[in-house]
């Protein structure tokens, strides 16, 4: 019990003292996961809308692939990206291995199917006749898509919450491709692993509490946004 209490006390001390190392780790965690969330949203939202609205031969197979992707093991993604980015790998010349860019890439791959899959489900739940109604009201194709995306906003925000929650808290892939290098690729999750291995449990718990607080804050913000945007919420 003392370990938890010490961890909680140390977390407060670290936060209040604005420890530069801690701030650097928090900042990098938010930059890496924020950028990955942004990239996966840019790619995943159009994919989700397309899959939610269009029928085409082989769609069932594509949907099965997306659903499988929603459960991708982070360590497997990390391993594949490591092999691609390693010096002998096909993307070795990029020089991304053990940099934040590699971490962003793995987290983008992890969040992409979550955002695409949840968006697809949300868009597919909209009555198909609404598209005809919007056309008859004079909306262009682009305006129809944007309107449908807005109609599916509760599901889209859930997709972003799920994507962010999955990547901010994952450790397997960022540890493999980032290497947990101090002042370069160390993020909250990899720092927790390091402190635990060192037996510095109070510090590990302190970092864990900060990670939880960050995740809670991000989700609270998105839920607040959902409530503001959705009159039913």
């Amino acid at each position: 019990m003392d370990v938890f209490l010490n961890g909680f006390r140390q977390a407060l001390e670290l936060i209040l003292s604005l420890d530069p190392d801690l701030l650097e780790i928090v900042r990098l965690s938010l930059v890496v996961s924020g950028a990955a969330l942004g990239m996966s949203a840019i790619m995943g939202l159009p994919v989700g809308i397309f899959l939610g609205l269009k029928d085409f031969p082989g769609k069932r197979l594509v949907v099965a692939v997306v659903y499988t992707g929603m459960g991708l093991p982070p360590v497997v993604v990390g391993l594949v990206v490591y092999l691609l980015l390693s010096r002998q790998g096909p993307l070795g010349e990029w020089g991304w291995l053990f940099t934040p860019k590699a971490m962003m890439l793995t987290q983008t791959i992890l969040a992409l199917p979550l955002i695409g899959g949840f968006t697809m489900t949300a868009v597919a739940a909209i009555p198909p006749a609404l598209m005809l109604q919007l056309r008859s009201l004079g909306a262009t194709r682009r305006q129809i898509v944007l309107t449908l995306l807005y109609e599916a906003r509760a599901g889209v925000l859930a997709a972003l919450v799920a994507g962010f929650g999955a990547i901010i808290s994952e450790v397997g892939s960022v540890l493999i491709v980032g290497g947990n290098i101090a002042h370069k690729t160390r993020v909250l999750t990899t720092a927790i692993v390091l402190e635990t291995r060192k037996g510095n449990f109070s510090m590990a718990i302190a970092l864990g509490l900060i990670l939880l607080a960050l995740t809670f804050s991000a989700n609270w913000f998105l839920l607040h946004l959902q409530g503001r945007l959705d009159p039913r919420a």
Binding site: P127, A129, L130, L132, Q133, L134, R135, S136, L137, G138, A139, T140, Q143, T147, Y150, E151, D230, P231, R232
Partner: protein
């Protein structure tokens, strides 16, 4: 095809099928500017499909649809012409936002920023001014359909397509909606194509009535002729309720 001087929309040689049976077989149909044409018929006669084809929401497999004497398809109808017509369906299909935002949707997609007065007037016309800021999830079925009608009327369309707009509504809301439709036609000259299975509604509102059976127009005539002197025995049977489907 011979075009009437006042015709606004014409159908020519329409044949449309789903799977192995024809849903529509209409050699010619002419909509006059400023009229209310009611298309009546039993469920499954093809009325809604006909409405979607006339509204350029669905392409007929054969035949042409003329708008102002020019043939168009849903794909090549210019957006400016598309925006001269609109539809209200049996389900209100409102967006999950406020009543005000729903009524203003068509104006927003047209880039009209100064539509506040028009929205206010449209809401007043359907008697829902006091619900402007309410979310649509709080509306009754009748109120939701009136919002859908206000959303269409605020655009001041040249043609208004109505697909069973009062089905499942109570008599009070039916009366309100019929009054609004009549006012739009008389005051603004809006051409109305009304699809309904309610022959009494057709009699109350329409200038001309067409009977659609199995995708074919059996008879089309001015409202009094249609009801008092039907030429086709199937029309007479439909009006007396003896035509069982």
């Amino acid at each position: 095809m011979m075009k009437h001087a006042d015709s606004i929309l014409q159908l020519e040689g329409i044949r449309h099928r789903y799977e192995d049976h024809f849903v529509l077989r209409i050699p010619a149909l002419d909509i006059q500017a400023g009229e209310i044409l009611a298309v009546v018929g039993p469920s499954g006669a093809g009325k809604s499909t006909l409405l979607r084809i006339m509204n350029f929401l669905e392409k007929p497999q054969q035949g042409r649809v003329y708008y102002h004497h020019q043939a168009y398809t849903p794909a090549n109808l210019p957006i400016a012409l598309r925006r001269q017509m609109t539809a209200v369906f049996q389900q209100p299909l409102l967006l999950n936002t406020s009543v005000w935002n729903n009524v203003g949707y068509g104006l927003r997609v047209r880039g009209e920023r100064n539509g506040k007065e028009a929205i206010r007037q449209a809401l007043k016309a359907v008697g829902l001014e006091h619900l402007a800021r309410h979310g649509v999830h709080r509306l009754s079925g009748g109120e939701a359909q009136r919002v859908a009608l206000a959303r269409a009327l605020v655009l001041d369309p040249e043609i208004l397509f109505l697909d069973e707009p009062t089905a499942n509504l109570d008599p009070g809301n039916v009366r309100i909606i019929e009054t609004i439709i009549r006012q739009a036609n008389e005051a603004r000259g809006t051409t109305v194509v009304l699809v309904t299975h309610n022959i009494w509604q057709a009699r109350r509102l329409a200038h001309r009535v067409a009977l659609l059976l199995d995708g074919a127009i059996i008879e089309i005539a001015p409202v009094e002729t249609f009801f008092q002197h039907p030429q086709d025995p199937r029309t007479a049977a439909f009006l007396t309720g003896d035509l069982i489907y």
